[in-house]
Amino acid sequence: MSLQLLFDALALGGIYAIAALGIALIFGVMRLVNFAHGQFIACAVFALIVPSTDALAVLGLGRLPAPVLIPLILALGAGLAVAAEALVFRLMRNASPVALMVGSFALGVALQNLLLVVYGGRPKAVSLWAELSHPVQIASAEVPLLQLIVIVTVAMILAALAIMLRHTRLGLEMRAAAEDFTMARMLGVRANRVISGAFALSGAMAAVVALVLVAQTGVADVRMGGQIMLVAFIATVVGGMGSLSGAVAAGLAIGAASAFLQAGLPADARPFRDAFLYGGVILVLLIRPQGLFAPVGAKPRV
């Protein structure tokens, strides 16, 4: 296996892992499969450019220096997610998981079409941090600087999240809520605070994915969140719904599988890579329907 391939796999898997984490966090506290997550990503991407339906994108916020821009976009993503929770999901708190899922699907459609109305349907070229695509020589591989940054960032985010979940009050409350929400509330965990916190974190993760996607592809497209969201879902299901570490591991695994399939499949079959990937996922689910790393609490109780 070449070193190059390893970096590709790590970087792609890292993005998938962060996206999957964004979905798993919300699922953990309120059993909501958030279909709007992809649109959170798209909204964070479009926040970088000036609203207009012209084909040429003019960077608005995107022109700010990175140390200002990054926190700002993260805050925007978090704000959007918290607003979505307050306006839609809080009102559906007692609905069944299926109704919640359908509701988030509708929210996603609304957001996507809002972007269409404001920005038009054509994909736009955006050059954000173009200097990061410079290759760097590492041993035998030429790796774009951005890929290294992505890998390091993902590792840092995962570490920070792990520390937060273990050692802060909010983290403790979130883990308690994911374990048994009713019991946690009886023990004095404030439902609204925990859920808002989970949404804020999830929105910020969406913003991270958005920044990486833009820097990598150089395109802003209304539909760009969809594919990555689908992979993220699959990662959360394969990882075992509600298990954060499972989601991360499955995200990394799917990214790696996808990079290896891209390299290993014959050229004729390469356009069908995603079909192989989804087929593989259905297979994994058949063997372990509860996911690879299902938490104990996920078993249905009679």
Partner: protein, 347 residues
């Protein structure tokens, strides 16, 4: 004097007839208005009734949300196109078709049925795997199935034409053809829902554990409903293709999935009448919004909604329904004649 149970069964049997009458009235009114655009909208609505009723056969009875049924529409539409398109045209557009399909020049009705059967076979095969899962995992697996079909169709260019559209389908769909299929779907859905298998399936929807304890094999009943449901979604897809005359894999992807789900949720997942009423209500609303998007002249100025606002309004309506009337417009009830009436006629 018939027993309570017999009365209820007889009364339930009036549901498909009443729904059929409702659709017939809808067609007569639409044609009576004499506007070609409205007649087209009526035909499209009835095609959607076929699809959504097909969708309901699985989702309504099993309680499992599927995101994959648009893919059955895709399969139905392409199979019907492969069978009916002029062979010379297929040689030019789709050079990779196997011998038998490339030479096929079938009449439209058998082709539509073949489209439905192909979708049903795929439903049976994929359902055999997917339906071993339950709840949310099953829903996500249907989503993966939808994405899989879309990826294959968009890239298998010699056979499907890829992302460029397949054109030149025979446009034979009139409101009457669509009405015939919509009624067939409703009849089959009602018969299935009242069959032993349909009742067993609904028992698993209400309480999985209790149903299993009563000896109900959830998997078998779900698979049957899934296959039946795939058949009518396939038919609906074939009709849709022949209605527009042009098909494209992206016409059977998230947009259609959203529309079908929205119609079902707004009408009410709990009943067949909900599915039909949801399609009618939403189709009429969409038609109104499309007209608003085109602009309405009031005096000298034209008011127009920006393009795309139709979906936003629908999505917001769907969220509001989910929040304030989670069971949908029909709230799980069926339209049926009261038991008193059928009793008098029956005895």
């Amino acid at each position: 004097m018939p027993s309570q149970h017999q009365l209820r069964r007889r009364s339930a049997a009036t549901t498909p007839l009443l729904l059929g009458l409702l659709l017939l009235t809808f067609v007569l009114v639409a044609l009576g208005l004499g506007d070609r655009a409205i007649a087209r909208m009526a035909a499209e609505t009835l095609i959607r009734v076929t699809m959504v009723v097909g969708f309901w056969i699985f989702v309504g009875n099993s309680g499992v949300v599927s995101f994959g049924h648009a893919a059955f529409g895709c399969i139905g539409a392409y199979v019907s196109a492969w069978l009916t398109l002029n062979p010379a045209m297929k040689a030019a557009l789709l050079p990779g078709l196997p011998e038998g399909l490339a030479a096929a020049d079938w009449p439209v009705l058998p082709a539509a049925i073949a489209g439905g059967l192909a979708a049903a076979v795929i439903a049976l095969l994929t359902g055999a795997a997917i339906l071993r899962l339950s709840g949310i995992a099953a829903s996500i697996a249907t989503f993966a199935f939808l994405a899989m079909v879309n990826t294959i169709w968009a890239n298998w260019t010699p056979v499907t034409g890829g992302t460029s559209s397949v054109v030149g389908l025979d446009r034979y769909i009139t409101p009457w053809v669509a009405l015939g299929w919509a009624f067939a779907a409703i009849l089959v859905a009602a018969l299935h829902a009242h069959s032993a298998s349909g009742l067993a399936l609904r028992a698993t929807r209400e309480d999985e554990v209790a149903a299993a304890a009563s000896g109900i094999d959830r998997y078998r009943h779900r698979l049957l409903a899934y296959t039946l449901s795939g058949f009518f979604c396939g038919i609906g897809g074939a009709l849709m293709g022949h209605f527009i005359g042009v098909i494209n894999p992206d016409g059977f992807y998230l947009g259609l999935t959203f529309l079908m789900l929205a119609m079902l949720v707004i009408g009410g997942v709990g009943s067949l009448s909900g599915a039909v009423v949801g399609v009618l209500a939403l189709s009429i609303a969409v038609e109104g919004l499309v007209r608003l998007e085109k602009g309405i002249a009031v005096g000298a100025t034209t008011f127009a909604l920006p393009p795309g606002s139709q979906e936003i309004i629908l999505a917001v309506a769907m969220i509001l329904i989910l929040i304030f009337r989670p069971a949908g417009l029909m709230a799980g009830r069926e339209v049926m004649l009261p038991a008193r009436w059928v009793a008098r006629r029956g005895t």
